[in-house]
Symmetry: D2
Subunit: 331 residues, 4 copies
């Protein structure tokens, strides 16, 4: 299992506050992590990537995101430390890998970008080798030849690109990204079914065009728990105590920052709310946060008496993800 | 264009004598190279690989080759320098890359191994993106999922594996490897024709099972020259003058060493003979060297009045590759 | 804190049985590790190194050890995995780093070799920056210029080399290595005292000439515990259950294998005995294992009523490291 | 011999226009280079570094430069390609290494920074091992412990830092940097003389505080030629023909850009003027360019009848570096 974090703010964040300085950042989180499901591979030292959009648009620089990846561990990457002190961005994706699939290679590091889009994944598509070839066949030539690595994750992005009317577009409506995401999951599920795969796939996918963010917490099972996914929102994210202790503050009514992460990024667990299993989260350009159920045969409605079968995590989530929190308004 | 060298000897060679010490080894050859065709990319600093078989069979160690690859330049790789001083092998493949296709990644470094087999390539399959998908479809599942990189070269090896009755076999007759090689080239040519590709492909392929070596010098053109390929044979390969000046000596009638290389590895050019364009070279387990024409629509017979159209290199080759040299006997 | 293992056997071990296959090898040990003292840096992903001597002497290859190092994590290093399957050695040092000092660089990876000697370290010299310059001044020119990195560990090796009558010698008696080790520690202690350093230094040093091994478990404190150090001996080290479960067996009276490690390498903790704090362990060419106290102002004799102040680890060690175990006889 | 380039402009340059896009950039220059003196090591694939200052001051980001270094060849570094498309800076140092001294390691990649200062070097201090220790002794503790690598170049920077009244200052006058540079060279010369070193040292050093640039073209010889150094100035540096063909234009009277490089960066050689041997070039904050002779025992005045002994390069330089060019005025 990997780890990731998404930051979207009305003001840009200095990458160091997100990545290198907090003692509980995804880079420094490599231990004391009780939420992860896959105990075979507890260390996220198999590559790292961060992608970000410019804080000020400059025609010469274009509107594609910039991506920095590394196969050496993030916690000891001097280039990352130096860049993180110098770069500010209003929309950041960062990812640390544990290689459950694919070799250690820059080509296999998340996130990937295509035109203005950026994508990353936490989880794994079960028995991907069985469906890989048929999935490959279904994407158009230019996307097929764009794929540089060999992971289920990059091919999932390729599939998502093939669901978009124009993957080279400059802007995508939230509805278009949302629909493409749903079709991607449905397509993978159809292939898995065709090849008789029964092991659950974990598909926590994130995509953005620099304005809208769509992230999923999803598993192809009615009973197993999906990989964890949390969010937090507030007005400032800052260090409140020396040693990299950060917290999210709500200094006024407005919420200027939304963060989504595989695990809470601060020790203030109360600041974090769990995203429901088999739901999609959308952060709109205007900073609204929506939670939308992904209703298919793996969906278990909260009112369903079998809902408790997801176990404690889900039950807890029900508690504090009350309906009124589903939409967070910010300017 | 890349560079490679093959060593096969009745006695093992210390890798340093092949790779790190000679001033004209493929690692140190990066300049003063007038034979290469592709002037766009004159530096072979884009990865390196060496594969070798054990000099003494040990059941516990198995009979697969060992492979060491690197994405940092070979000339400055301390691990390579140290290993080359300590390893001896009777059959070595070594390769330095210039990325004409595929990204800089260990997955894309030659040679690759599969069971007992080892493969490398110098050249490029023209417009590979067009035929890649159909080629991928034609290999069986286990070979398809074994491919870890994204180059034309590794897929050519996958295709060759699919032409073998049993790619996991412990031994392959020269005839079986030779036929698989020919079918691989024919298959690629058929695909290129199907997709209307007219740019010539350069297919200097090498495969071995640790006993037999099959290497091709091949181009899909009747008029253009293939990438260069040379061989040398003798009884000892050693340093005759300080500073890494090596030569091949013929101290007795027996020829214990055969080397095949993209370019002569010594300044004694007379020691090296060019392999004919669109020919296949086979080194048998008993150290016979055979040159066999690859007769297809791109073949130009030496007696053909159009033969001269290949230009000076080919004409020169005709001179010193006289028929009696086609078979070199050694014990 | 780092991790290391030493293997010395009358028969060579395939490196994979030591490094890559055991589920509790130093590479795979990165979690479930309750013995380590430094909780700030629990992951050993900051570089790796293994050094070994040939199993058969070959004049052409020389008698220096071969060393393979890497700055990417050992658990995902394809070269290491492949080499470990092919190399056998009767004397191996392996080390995984957590950078408490020095940057991530091949130059800073343990072990280092000098002529026939090999050295590694687990621990740290307190406030090394204060004594570094004066230490540097005390080594002769050739050793000074040989140092390629910037760690306390490599300089400790340089200092040890300067204590030897002839560091380029082909062979060293156990007494000579033992004395050099003691003088190295004494020299570092004198410097630390001169510069008023009071924080304890952890000096678990290991040196070998390919025949004798000298390892220390040492701390410059009468009350704090040294970094852990264990040994195990037996006749075979092999997998008893699938999934990399290894154990040391004593199939006959002879003990052919001695292993020393920062932590027990098997789940059979009973196979492992702790080495006493502030002691030196010597494995002689004939496989005798001796434990010798390092008697200086930090030494606490077992009979000393203050001995218990070392805490539980030391107390436990007293229990099962009974005097008769201090010398292990093997053929 | 290495390669470097300095850019200083009144407007920021997108790094890609300096580094990755021009077909004759220092990255792509690895061949067709007739100016370099050291033919043993003609390939600059041994590491790369670029350092730059922010184009807009941001208090949170500080005023130190950002540095990106790599041990894989620059021409194939995907991170560099992506970052260069996104970063703009008014003052850039870039350097490609050929390891004449020091191992391949990020610690040894130029440029280095210390506070607001940045430094790089092309050349080599002759027999550095002989003077290294005494040089090390002469720098204060904090600078001594800051050095992370093991090259003559980084120690030369350390020495220069020790010549500054306050190396942590926010700003340095041109005179202060100039004097520190001269004292650094004088100090190294004194040490070389003390140790009887007669082989010439090549000291093309560059230092900047983000406003002033001081660069030297210097050799410790009256007869040998220094490593080459050129400059160009103009109002725009842009692509005039597809394929990365760049030139410096002078569209108006003002000169907004000054570039200094080890070799001309464009095929328009007329745009480039050679800097005189044993001179120092200063670019002031207001974009004046001054050439100042370094007058010591190795200085040969242009009027000196022995001046021709420097050979053709110097003679040529005399021709077009006429006095009126010594000071270039720009707003």
């Amino acid at each position: 299992m990997c780890r990731f974090v998404i930051y979207k703010g009305t003001k840009p964040v200095q990458l160091s506050h997100l990545l290198t300085r907090p003692c509980h950042s995804i880079i420094n989180q490599a231990y004391d992590s009780r939420l992860r499901l896959d105990h075979r591979r507890p260390i996220n030292g198999d590559g790292f990537g961060v992608g970000w959009y410019d804080s000020v648009y400059d025609e010469e620089l274009g509107n594609q995101p910039c991506i920095f990846t590394s196969v050496t561990p993030a916690w000891n990457n001097v280039n990352l430390v130096r860049l993180a002190e110098k770069i500010k961005s209003p929309l950041v994706f960062a990812h640390v890998r544990a290689t459950t699939a694919g070799t250690l290679s820059l080509d296999n590091c998340h996130p990937w970008s295509y035109g203005k889009l950026m994508f990353m994944h936490n989880g794994g598509i079960a028995e991907f080798g069985k469906i890989k070839r048929k999935l490959m066949m279904s994407v158009p030539d230019d996307i097929f030849n764009w794929v540089s690595g060999n992971t289920d994750s990059q091919w999932a992005f390729a599939l998502l690109l093939s669901k978009l009317p124009n993957p080279e577009a400059k802007r995508f409506s939230p509805a278009v990204l949302q629909r493409a995401m749903q079709e991607t999951i449905a397509h993978i599920n159809a292939l898995s079914e065709e090849f008789g795969i029964t092991e659950p796939s974990l598909m926590n996918f994130c995509v953005t065009d620099g304005e809208t963010v769509v992230a999923t917490r999803y598993i192809t099972s009615r009973t197993d728990e999906a990989a964890s996914l949390w969010f937090s929102s507030g007005s400032t994210f800052s260090e409140y105590a020396e040693g990299g202790h950060y917290k999210m503050s709500k200094t006024d009514k407005r919420e200027n920052i939304i963060m989504i992460a595989s695990e809470p990024l601060t020790f203030e667990k109360a600041d974090w709310m769990e995203i429901r299993t088999n739901h999609m989260v959308v952060i709109t350009p205007k900073m609204n946060l929506l939670q939308i159920p992904i209703v298919d045969k793996f969906y278990v409605a909260p009112s369903d008496p079998t809902a408790t079968s997801r176990g404690t995590e889900f039950a807890a989530a029900k508690g504090f993800l009350s309906p009124r929190r589903d939409s967070v308004h910010a300017h």
